[in-house]
Each structure stands twice: as C-alpha cells, then as structure tokens.
Symmetry: C2
C-alpha cells in the first residue's frame, strides 16, 4: 500500500513537471511563430526596425531551447518515465530543436531585409501562395503539438509535398526570368533564397508533426512520403 | 554486498549495450560518408549509375537511423542511465538524426546529377575549396564522434564560419556571372543549389560535433559563433 502511494506521488510529480514543460514548449512555439510572422511582415513592408527586432530576439529563442532540453534531461534522470511520458520528453527535445531552427530561418529572412537596407521595390516572384501554405503548416504544427493531436499532425506532414512543388515552380520562374534577360539578378536570387528558407521552415514543421505522431500513436512515420491516416481514425 | 554486485552487473550490461550502439552509429556514419563521397564523385564524373546507387541506398540510411533511435530509447527505458551514459544516448539520437540528414543531402546532390541526365559539361563555378572543407568537416566530425574527442569536435565547429564565407563568395560569383549575361542560367542555379547543399551538410557536421562536446564535456556550445578551447585543454 505504502509502495503504491509512493508510486502515485512520483507519478503526480512527474505529470506536474511535464505540464510545466508543456507550458514552456508552448511559449517557445508562440515566440517562434511570432518571429516568423514578423520576419514576413518586415519583408513585405521593408520594415528595417522590425527586421532588427527579429534578429535581436533570436538569442532569446536559442536560450529557451537550451533550457527546455536541460529540463527534459533532468526530468528523465529524476523520474525515469516510461511509455507515453518518455516519448513525450524525447519528442520535446527534438521539437524544440526544430522550433529553434525555424527561429534561425526567420532571423535569416530578417537579415536579408536588413542587407537590402529597407529599399522598397516590387517583388518579381509572387510567393504569396508558398508563404500562406508554410504559415498554415507552422500554425497547425504548433496546434498539433499543443493538443497532441496526431490527426492534424498527419495532415501537416502530407502538405509538405505541396510546398516542395510550389518551391520547384518558383525556381523554374526565377530561371525563366533570368533566361529572358531580367536584369534584377540580385533581387531574383534573394527571392529564390527566401523561398528556399520557407521550404526549410515547412520541413521543420513537418518534423515537429512527425514527432507528435510518434508521441501519440507510438508510430515512426518519418522518411515516408505520404502518411496514412491510422486505422482507428479512418474506420 | 549483493546490491553492489547487482549494480555492477547492470552497469556491465548497460556498457555492453552502449558499445554495440556505438558500433552501429559508426557503421551509419561510414555509410553516410560513403554516400556523400559517391554523390560528389557522381557529380564530378557525371556518373548516372553511381548517382542512382546513392539515391537507392538512402532508404537503408533512413532505416538504420530509425533502428538506432529505437535502440537508444530501449536502453534508456531498461537501464535508466545517468551522467555521461545518459548524455551519450541523447546525443546519439540527435547525431543519427544529423547523419540521416547528411544522407538526404547526398541523395539530393545525386538527384541533381540524374536530372541533368549525365550530360557532361564544364563547371562554371569552382567549388573545389568548399567541397574540400565540407568533406574535411564530415570526416573529422565522424572521427570526433567515434573517439568522443571534444577537442577535434570544437575544431570542426570553428570551421563552419569558413564554409559560410565560401558559400557567400560562390553566391556573389553566381550573381556576377548572371549580371555579366552568362547564358548558362540553369547550370549556374544548379551549382548554387549544390553549394547550398554543401553548406547544409557542414551545418549538420557542426551539430554532430556540438553533441560530442556536450557528451564529453557536459557543456552546451550550440548557438555560440566561436567555440573556446576548454580551460583544461588550453592550459
């Protein structure tokens, strides 16, 4: 009886720690999403001040990722969790790593705005559709992470092919413009670079969702191009 | 006394499992390095057959990464390791993830060779220096991983800035060629893409080394641009 009571207390403590961790992970997710949206806004509006704010805040994102990983390791060492709790902790380490990388890419976009020195000009390539899809993947990826919702996570994973196709089309458009002799070479290469960053952000959103599926359904879905809806959801 | 004997047996088993895991991680590292070198050779020699071999082998790399991660999780669940053993296991999960990504990028380079349909032509951009540096980082990174040599790992981390600078120079060269009206637009964009893949491979080699430093010295060095030699090595 005493042993059961002790076990229950330990489980209670563990779950309290996990709840706190989840809060911090959500906070990091919100911060990274804000960084990404601000980078896009800085780009759209040639807003140097906002771009500099994004670059400056990146250190905060980095520190939060380090703290979160250390927290996960401490909890694993202290409570030796099993099954879903253990999967949650390992996934949190991997997810925060991907969130930090999204933060880095947002910073890289902001840095391109800064190196352009706020010069206002028309975009040559229309990447509104790509931007919208990547924003959707990040938003839904975070929702899936917070709610541990593997159905939404699988939906996000399946969107990655669409992003890849949009990126391919943009690349072809850049090549075609250059072949036609468009003289805005630097601007075209910058727009290609930004699209490439977007595609990488989508990859990280996908990886976050693969870890959500792993946590919830104990199923490894990475490296598969299309993700089946699990049997219990499709039936 | 009995308890001590039991503890020793468990530790012995744990270390046997870790030794086996290390062997498998080394094997994956060797395979990924071979994939990368073959992709570069396929590119240099327009060798379609070799490029197809690289693409085909990528599934093997993916499967090995999944197996290794599952093995790490099993060992953590079973032996509840602490300190350096725990750090080793968590780092192995992260390192195999980076190895798998290097494998993906090698596959992407091979796919560019295939989409070029083996057509032989002179390179416009000379990326021999970039290639040599990235190959060195991958080689040294694997050595540091195998020998758990944090001094070499720090050396690799510090080389990343050099790769970034070489990539920046290549990008400027591509822009300058296009501005001069070089009509090989598609070839130039492909060469820029390959250089970008190289730069990403260097990033992953750096991340592997950051995890080696974490395992050996229990120090988090990621997100710092230059890595100090630890006091015990510089004195």
């Amino acid at each position: 009886m005493a042993s059961t009571a002790n076990f229950t207390t330990v489980t209670l403590h563990l779950h309290r720690q996990i709840a706190l961790l989840k809060q911090q992970a959500n906070l990091l997710g919100t911060l990274v999403e804000e960084q990404f949206e601000n980078a896009l806004r800085a780009l759209a509006e040639n807003d140097l001040e906002l771009a500099e704010k994004v670059v400056k805040l990146d250190k905060d994102v980095d520190q939060r990722e380090i703290n979160l990983e250390e927290e996960c390791l401490k909890i694993i060492a202290l409570y030796q969790p099993v099954a879903v709790d253990m999967r949650f902790l390992i996934s949190t380490i991997k997810i925060t790593n991907d969130l930090e990388r999204i933060g880095d890419l947002a910073r890289d976009i902001a840095q391109l705005v800064i190196s352009n020195n706020g010069e206002s000009r028309e975009r040559i390539i229309d990447f509104a559709a790509l931007t919208a899809k990547v924003k959707w993947m990040v938003r839904k990826g975070l929702e899936a992470m917070i709610a541990l919702d593997s159905e939404t996570a699988r939906e996000v994973c399946n969107s990655d092919d669409e992003v890849d196709e949009q990126f391919r089309l943009i690349k072809e458009k850049v090549i075609s413009e250059l072949e036609k002799g468009n003289s805005n070479v630097r601007a075209l290469i910058t727009e290609l670079t930004i699209s490439d960053y977007m595609e990488s952000i989508a990859d990280h959103a996908k990886k976050i969702c693969e870890d959500v599926v792993y946590t919830v359904d104990a199923e490894v879905i990475r490296h598969s191009s299309l993700v089946d809806t699990p049997k219990n959801l499709s039936s």
